[in-house]
């Protein structure tokens, strides 16, 4: 083969779809639609898409005076770096300070249990819909599928009222946020996991049945281990979704430092201290750093989940 082709890494293949990896390389080169102009356009788009985050990151490490009087693109003329902004927004305590440190903890306390609750309940339901024949199964499943599109706004006020009942009374606690997020996460989770679990070969399931396995045994010994890839994808989704949410947090967390997550405090802070860009940029960076780490380290699972969710619908 005379034409050199760029090497494809494993992740590249993952991002690019499985089909491509199986074709002979020569064909791939021929199939290319790209030209110099297209490459240039792509690079321009990539730069445009990156500049805003880049500017934010730079500014968050610049001293207050520089941030407020000069643009981050003049960093070479107005040289200066500091960690003071982070120190102020994370740890300084006082009425008008961000105290993001506590909210950062809250975000984890909200996100991790929710992710586990959703996954466990959705796995069980998905298994039942896929492998336990019962009357109305199909109808119920379609119903659950349709629910994922119903706007959250439909449920907010009444659900808040339920949380306020005397015998429940969890409004403004972590429990309220956990329950709300779990409920709102279930439809999509059930749908995605059902897609995956229903693809397990029938022979495998029949064999378990012949061996005398009950449903709980089949579930724990066969379905759970086989579903690990799907669980990984969905866990990332659920984690990011809950971590990044603002609406559910605003309505159910009570909005205080006791339970509210980063996003809630960040939105509030943007309103209160809208011109203190040295603090706002640092605060925004604190809130996006965890999703970015999750995203860049687990990108392949993220993409896989996204494709499973959108191509099988």
């Amino acid at each position: 083969m005379s034409t050199p082709t760029p090497p494809r890494t494993e992740l590249d293949a993952d991002l690019g779809g499985i089909e491509a990896a199986e074709e002979p390389k020569a064909k791939r080169v021929k199939k290319r639609l790209t030209s110099r102009g297209a490459t240039a356009a792509a690079i321009v788009i990539a730069i445009l898409w990156t500049i805003p985050t880049f500017g934010l990151a730079i500014s968050s490490f610049r001293p207050e005076r520089e941030v407020k009087t000069t643009g981050w693109w003049t960093i070479f003329e107005n040289w200066g770096w500091t960690l003071d902004n982070y120190n102020t927004i994370l740890f300084e305590s006082g009425a008008s300070s961000a105290s993001l440190g506590s909210y950062f903890v809250n975000s984890f306390v909200i996100t991790i249990p929710t992710t586990i609750f959703v996954l466990a309940l959705a796995l069980m339901a998905a298994y039942a819909f896929a492998w336990i024949p019962f009357r109305g199964a199909s109808w119920l499943f379609v119903m659950v599928f349709a629910l994922q599109i119903v706007p959250l706004q439909m449920a907010l006020i009444p659900l808040l009222r339920i949380f306020n009942y005397d015998w429940i009374d969890i409004s403004g606690t972590f429990a309220a946020v956990w329950v709300a997020h779990t409920i709102f996460g279930l439809p999509l989770a059930i749908f995605l996991l059902h897609n995956f679990i229903s693809e397990i070969p029938r022979d495998v399931m029949e064999a378990a049945k012949v061996d005398g396995s009950s449903h709980t045994q089949t579930f724990t010994r066969i379905v759970l281990p086989l579903s690990v890839p799907a669980i990984a994808s969905l866990a990332i989704f659920q984690f990011l979704w809950v971590w990044n949410d603002l609406l559910v947090a605003l309505v159910f967390s009570g909005g205080t430092v006791k339970t509210a997550p980063l996003t809630q405090r960040l939105a509030e802070f943007a309103g209160d201290r809208g011109s203190d860009w040295q603090l706002l940029t640092a605060a925004a960076f604190v809130s996006i750093i965890v999703p970015l780490i999750v995203f860049f380290s687990l990108q392949r699972y993220f993409v896989r989940g996204l494709l499973a969710g959108s191509t099988k619908g």
Partner: protein, 340 residues
């Protein structure tokens, strides 16, 4: 440099308030909740497994499917029904017919809200899909495809609140003659223009909010469409080339028809997301300067202004706007299941 770096670390260690005790007890609480939850599920499974042969299947089915269904029924379906009811009654629960909807469809501020929502829905899906598709085609099989994809996909991972602050900073305004600190205003100045208050001047401010959401959604469109493009059989492209079709013609006659399904999925998904958009408007303008949209207005009315009935009516309007998409998707799902 060294000293500035160590300051936070020292403060971290020597904090005089009870930050660590507080964080510890919260995280401990979360751990306990997880353990209790998993223990309950485990125990129920254990007992369901030991249930008498007769009726065991039923007990197990209930165990598997009931928790999710009960949660969905009490947390989504029942509340949705109540919201619909609330939208046609007043505070005391007496029937008021469509009064609340009349407000939604005649009040001047509300009309702006509806108009804005329509603008959002018309622009965001098409713009994100078009840019995402173009980008996916441009970088297809190019060197560094992986990195180029990550850069555009990255905004998908961060919160819309974070994105709002990122773009709020891009839009920052300083009066003419002063050094600009917002990048877009600096570009305006470089081009010989005068700085502009991007977020305060209607009707264009809505478009600058929309730009933020396009920035987020393009990555989603790009990744899904890129995977679809890779599925186009090479033979089709070859046959088209032999017929003398240019790259542009092949794109329209081969690629686009082949990825039609993926295009529809991307467009509908982004449309739903756009209808529900809330965080960006809330964080960037709070709905002021004529930028409010239905989801934001619903929140303001129901939770800030003490008008739950209007809020409920807005939620119902949102729901009605989504119904065609639900119907379409359920139909596709049905067909898909029948094929299997």
């Amino acid at each position: 440099m060294m000293s500035t770096l160590t300051v936070p670390a020292m403060q971290l260690a020597g904090r005089n308030d009870n930050f660590w005790a507080d964080a510890g007890s919260k995280l401990g609480g979360a751990a306990v909740a997880i353990v209790i939850f998993l223990a309950v599920v485990g125990l129920l499974m254990f007992f369901a497994d030991r249930a008498p042969k007769k009726g065991r299947d039923f007990i197990q089915l209930t165990l598997f499917v009931a928790p999710a269904l009960v949660l969905l029924a009490t947390g989504l379906i029942w509340p949705a029904v109540q919201t619909i009811w609330q939208s046609v009654t007043d505070r005391d629960g007496t029937w008021v017919g469509f009064d609340n909807f009349q407000v939604v469809f005649t009040d001047p501020t509300m009309l702006t809200v509806l108009r804005n929502t329509v603008i959002w829905v018309l622009i965001v899906p098409v713009a994100s899909t078009a840019i995402g598709l173009a980008y996916a085609v441009f970088i297809d099989r190019s060197k560094g495809e992986k990195v180029l994809k990550s850069l555009v996909f990255m905004p998908m991972a961060i919160s819309m609140v974070g994105a709002s602050i990122i773009w709020g900073f891009m839009y920052t305004y300083r009066a003419e003659g002063f050094d600009q600190i917002g990048f877009l205003n600096q570009v305006l100045v470089w081009l010989g223009g005068t700085p502009h208050q991007f977020l305060n001047v209607p009707p264009w401010n809505t478009f600058f909010l929309i730009l933020v959401f396009v920035w987020i959604q393009t990555g989603f469109a790009m990744v899904v469409l890129s995977a679809a493009i890779k599925g186009v059989p090479a033979e089709l492209h070859e046959a088209a080339s032999l017929d003398g079709a240019s790259g542009w013609q092949r794109f329209w006659s081969v690629t686009v028809p082949w990825i039609r399904g993926a295009l529809v999925v991307v467009l509908t998904t982004i449309t739903i997301a756009t209808l529900k958009v809330f965080d960006i408007v809330r964080t960037m303008t709070g709905g002021q300067f004529e930028t409010s949209v239905i989801a934001n207005e619903m929140y303001s009315r129901a939770f800030r202004l003490g008008q739950p009935a209007i809020g409920a009516a807005l939620a119902v309007v949102l729901f009605v706007m989504v119904i065609p998409i639900i119907v379409y998707n359920v139909r596709t799902l049905r067909q898909h299941r029948e094929v299997r």
